[in-house]
Symmetry: none
Subunit: 208 residues, 4 copies
DNA sequence: AATTAATCGAGACGGTACGTCTGGTCTTAGA
DNA sequence: TCTAAGACCAGACGTACCGTCTCGATTAATT
């Protein structure tokens, strides 16, 4: 049950036309289609409205901005795609998680969405907070794996979880955004090995 | 040798008014000022023109887009600020380099510029190539340090330089762009330690 | 029946905000005011938008060019001003019609509009067609008077109506545009006398 | 040696490079060519400069505006084309004169020039005066013919020469500018007949 | 069944900045 | 001192979307 960004009952209704689910789906589908066809910059609210046969005001009623719309479309597209892996080892969990993450390149829409959202977070301070939370939720999943590794004794108890997450996600985003080197799911395992070595290299570096 | 993005003599001149250096400086100064005051999204060509007391067409004559302008203003602002360090050890060089890099947070203009440029690279395919080259030049400086480390025997000769650069720059950009954790120059040393540990951890992970 | 160039219901509405009559009137009033103040060449769409407190896009939505706007403003200004005269004689009708026409000089806005529209018709081929039609409608009014004269037996049935209209309107426009001699309503009667003499002088001259 | 609007030596020269007659001719030729190809509106000083391989400033040095340039080019094109006819009768003179005038339609450049100049006279008050003088010179030629007719006794001595000129030129310009009816040299004779009838119809109509 | 209230599509509204264009001026190097 | 070249300031152009706002028409849940 993904993408609950617009709750079902925000105030005690006493009548009135109910929200059209058809419209909602049309909008998300149009967003996805346009993202794939022209990329994030070519995506406009007007374009989505036209494509979805929906009024602009209907879009603005349910989503407050273009990135909010994209974040919903992205969530719908990846729903139930990322079950938290549990392979029994940190290396296994992380590798599974990262491999799936790197697969983003196989889905133009996901790639455009991620790049566009990151761009928008730089340009729209209001969205930046939302984006930060969204990123935070992905980080939480990852730090959960690390915590299980600590419980198992695979990792020291004092590692800096935040720094670990940066070390894992940083290079991914950097490659995705700059595009100097293609992302390949096969790179995930090697990256995990490196990161684990770094984490075991000594005291947490962020705050000595 | 700063800010040569617009060379002084691109074709053999045979007459014609010479480019106004005053105009050029006014434009870059206005860009810097506006970046500091309102951030990248509030920066507009019209605003720069008005602030610099310059015609819009003069800006468009020398810079093909807003990010091209910002990249020049950034280069001017950081000119001669980053001499390539040479401390005798890889760790020392990298730490010096990264410490200076992390200082970006002390200069709002530099921070706004970096974030805005990365955003623009996602939105403007034409600029993306320019940006990639620009990023590449920074990476080259860094890999130069690593190569010297290899020469000195501090690092194995088969490490993946590209991956190393990703590992170093990735977390920096990730923090800069997401903003979940503040950047602090003091973190640089710890990060270098981690990265070097990762690089020594085994075979190059990217392409075995 | 004034100023219907932008009809109130051009296509069967099925929803949507209705056109703002206030905006329409503000625009036409601003056009008239600016015509009077600075003349046709100083009239700009931007100026009208600013004066009328209206978005430029609103103007472009309803008028495709500056002359189209002026033609509407002119029509509004002269609405119901020129009832077709019916005095019982050709000479009387024509004199009344021409006298009113010559009064254009008393209204700077009308004079500026006429001169500007004629100029624009030379410069903008697309508008030329519109202008020709507009001129045609004035000619039709005039030839209607002549036709009544033929019915009454005042004029021969074989006169060239087109040529007659040229003979009547030509000198008016020529004076208006060149400005070598001031237009005066009192000249109308004499001109009519001359023209009628010319028309009675013999066979239609244009195509024997 | 036509088109002396820009004399060869306007102030007592005291040395320096002499005016390039080649440049002058190139400019006028380019003006004529562009008038024929794209009409008056497509004619720009920049275009002329490019076509004539001449600097914009060179054009501005010798001609103060676009219409001044066109008026020179027109004069050059029609030089020695219009000898004042002397057939022995007013009707003959006028018909010869008008027939030649109506031939303008056979020369696109002349037609474009006339229409453009008239348009410009409406838009550029400074040029309007020049244009009025230019028009005046053509009127003088015509009134000269009428005066000879008075001398011969063909016309009454008290006819209004100015009005006569308006009656003759007005319909010509009106057709040329509006374009509702094609101009044809064969129409000249009939028009002359009509006008003479009008002039003989009675007292001068302009000022009773 | 009538009422009420929130939805829906449509599309006009005021705005802002865009990138282009032309005009007319000014400053060079070279003839 | 002129010429060609071309940069300069200025400002209107017409376009694209933005986010807001009226419309009339639906569509439930509540009376």
């Amino acid at each position: 049950m993904p993408a609950k960004s617009t709750g079902p009952a925000r105030h005690p209704r006493t009548g009135g036309r109910v929200r059209s689910d058809d419209a909602r789906e049309q909008v998300l589908a149009a967003t996805t289609a346009l993202l794939e066809e022209g990329g994030y910059p070519a995506l406009t609210i007007e374009g989505v409205a036209a494509r979805a046969q929906v009024a602009k005001s209907t879009i603005y009623r349910w989503w407050k901005s273009k990135p909010a719309l994209v974040i919903d479309a992205y969530a719908q597209a990846t729903a139930a795609r990322m079950p938290e892996p549990d392979t029994g080892t940190v290396a296994g969990d992380l590798t599974a998680f990262l491999t799936e993450l790197y697969r983003v390149v196989d889905y133009p829409m996901r790639m455009q969405a991620l790049r566009g959202l990151m761009a928008e977070a730089q340009l729209d301070p209001e969205f930046a907070a939302t984006f930060r939370d969204w990123i935070g939720s992905r980080r939480t999943v990852l730090t959960g794996m690390l915590l299980r590794g600590i419980d198992r004794g695979e990792l020291a108890g004092d590692i800096d979880l935040g720094y670990a997450a940066d070390l894992i996600f940083g290079p991914f985003w950097y490659r995705l955004l700059v595009g100097h080197t293609p992302l390949e799911p096969a790179q995930a395992a090697g990256h995990v090995t490196s990161v684990l070595a770094a984490l075991r290299s000594g005291r947490s570096p962020a705050r000595p």
